[in-house]
Subunit: 378 residues, 2 copies
């Protein structure tokens, strides 16, 4: 029967990370528990929602954890409730003792709380991912790529493949990451410092958002492993599994235009604020669009809601060139594209009022390119 | 037609305060608007939900406001939407111009937003409260009194009078404030520095909570005025009206016991944390109670939930005296009582397991006294 003592705060941290994979509203009730597995090496916490699984290991070698293991074993405890109880304990040292009938006695200071657990055998087995030949990625680079693309994935289940982000490695080091919901698209290309076997996978954008929350910036690199329907991101203490989406991702390369009629360079923050103002009014219109007018190298934004009012605004520009143009689109797509851009200036290039326009960081080439599709308003 | 210019931030601050009285889900649609009244003296913003009304005045004398009035008038604008629009404007200076058909043109920097307003005559007339002979109160004192009592008022409409806080002034300077939901009670007595006409009113606790949010700590005093069914709190710029509750407040004085069998003094924070741990488990029991046991001057807390587990905890005490006792109660009432207490130590006094116990700040007398009713568990 399990018996160990541990630093409460380190234990809580590990539990909170593991809990990110645990949903309280799962169709499989056992998945609302956290699995605690104690061996002579340390403690492994496991959480899963069937899509994402997280294993967090606390080693007896970790001095901050103050982990003293007297007896190994494994047990399941209701995750949310267990975390609240641990968090409420008065002392920095927490004693964890299993007693008869799968009960756990937690002791800390003068407080003693007994909780009912469940047989560890009831927990589903996680699918294994072979861990040979890792691809090593910088966490920072991977997280930036996710931040630049995952928001553009679809949230609608009507075309499930579009709820994912397409990751493609070619020539062992050329990584292309792309997401689209068919109204807008975001693509980041980069050349890896390391190299690995080529791959072509679609990762659910929701899993990637959890990944960015779980892998904090102090984790410098992650190892990446694939099986045919799963991907594993692994750091020293954390293993993060997510299922892959099945199906063929649409060919997005052909969507990216290369010749333009009009280009304009904007200050990113200024343009975003203008679009946020426009959106206040466009939300009250029938098609929800803002109209951008480029005439004599002056760019202006217009919204007219018969019920609420109207916006007319001349936009600050750094440079405008090319033909005059009028184009209407959903300002939210442009706002989100601008939010994903860390560059201070952006270059927007247009072909016509019915063709998607592109947005790239100014002066940085086209490794990061976004597309927004206009709305025909008449 | 209205025409003025103003510092955007000062205008936003005043709008946000006025908005506290405005509900978007009001049965009277016109109450979702803010009324803007411009005279040669300044601007008055008015918001109301029918229960609470707030008038906020911005004077042309206020240098920070940078208020320049070219033409007076009054108009109604959709409050939430108008605040979002003002907040989105790019420049620190905002121009407000009324044009034909009750439309407003807001200009700031290069941005121009036109909004549709409504006739000011559509706004209901606020009931007037005669403003002679003010009672002047320190804001800090009034807010503390509210924080100490209002939480104990009922949230159930089954006995409407208990959703209010009873304010009684006797002998021109003795203020008694009391609230109860019939499970617990909180009473603060204080002697005012100033004096006023005696009163006996019941103010909705919800209104008092809004009061504490609206009157910030930089407002040193408030003037208080009464009509037969309203109360007005007034500072230099803000008039805050709330209706009073009709009916007779129950006699609570007779509920307060004066002789006790057992007393215990606790560190306020320690006791609160113990009760929060107990509540984690008591939430999962049928009657939701914690059992407090006093035996040989040792106090311990116990909860036993057949489904989830149990708590046993010896409580830290400063001093215990009197007879042994076992008493069960809802830990939330004690937690909320402790939260309302700024004193580092509290003294709890018991009569028996079926009589309410009292809680007072230790060493501070009984000007602030709280009662919690036990639950009979068998």
């Amino acid at each position: 029967m399990i018996q160990f003592s541990i630093n409460k705060n380190i234990f809580l941290q590990a539990l909170s990370i593991t809990k990110r994979a645990i949903s309280t509203k799962n169709a499989i009730p056992i998945l609302s528990t956290v699995k605690i597995t104690v061996t002579s090496e340390g403690i492994t916490l496991t959480g899963s929602n069937g899509q994402i699984s997280i294993e967090h290991f606390i080693s007896i070698q970790d001095e901050n954890a103050g982990l003293l293991i007297s007896s190994p074993g494994s047990i399941l405890l209701e995750a949310g409730f267990f975390i609240n109880v641990v968090s409420s304990m008065p002392d920095l040292v927490l004693d964890f003792n299993e007693i008869e009938q799968k009960q756990i006695v937690l002791t800390s200071g003068k407080s003693e709380i007994t909780l009912k657990g469940k047989e560890a055998e009831q927990y589903p087995r996680l699918q294994e991912v072979p861990t040979s030949k890792p691809l090593v990625l910088e966490t920072k680079v991977l997280k930036q790529t996710i931040n630049e693309t995952a928001f553009a994935a679809s949230t609608q289940e009507s075309r499930p493949i579009l709820t994912g982000v397409h990751f493609v490695l070619t020539e062992n080091k050329n990584l292309k990451t792309v997401a689209t919901d068919s109204h807008r698209m975001s693509q980041r290309k980069l050349v890896l410092d390391t190299s690995g076997d080529d791959f072509n996978v679609v990762i659910p954008s929701r899993s990637l958002r959890e990944f960015t929350a779980v892998f904090t910036d102090d984790i410098e690199t992650v190892e990446v492993f694939f099986s045919n329907n799963q991907i594993l991101f692994r750091s020293e203490h954390i293993s993060f599994y997510t299922r892959l989406l099945e199906g063929t991702y649409p060919d997005t390369d052909r969507l990216i235009p290369t010749e333009f009629k009009t280009t304009a360079i904007f200050d990113t923050a200024n343009l975003r604020h203008s679009m946020e103002r426009a959106r206040l009014l466009s939300n009250a219109t029938q098609n929800g669009t803002v109209k951008l007018e480029i005439a004599n190298n002056v760019v202006s934004a217009h919204v007219n809601s018969p019920e609420v009012g109207r916006v007319n605004e001349e936009l600050d520009t750094v440079e405008v060139s090319g033909e005059d143009l009028v184009i209407s689109f959903n300002p939210t797509y442009l706002i989100e594209a601008l939010k994903a851009t860390t560059s201070e200036q952006v270059k927007i290039s247009f072909i016509s009022s019915v063709r998607p326009f592109t947005l790239i960081p100014n002066n940085e080439g086209e490794d990061f390119i976004q597309l927004v599709t206009p709305v025909r308003t008449n």
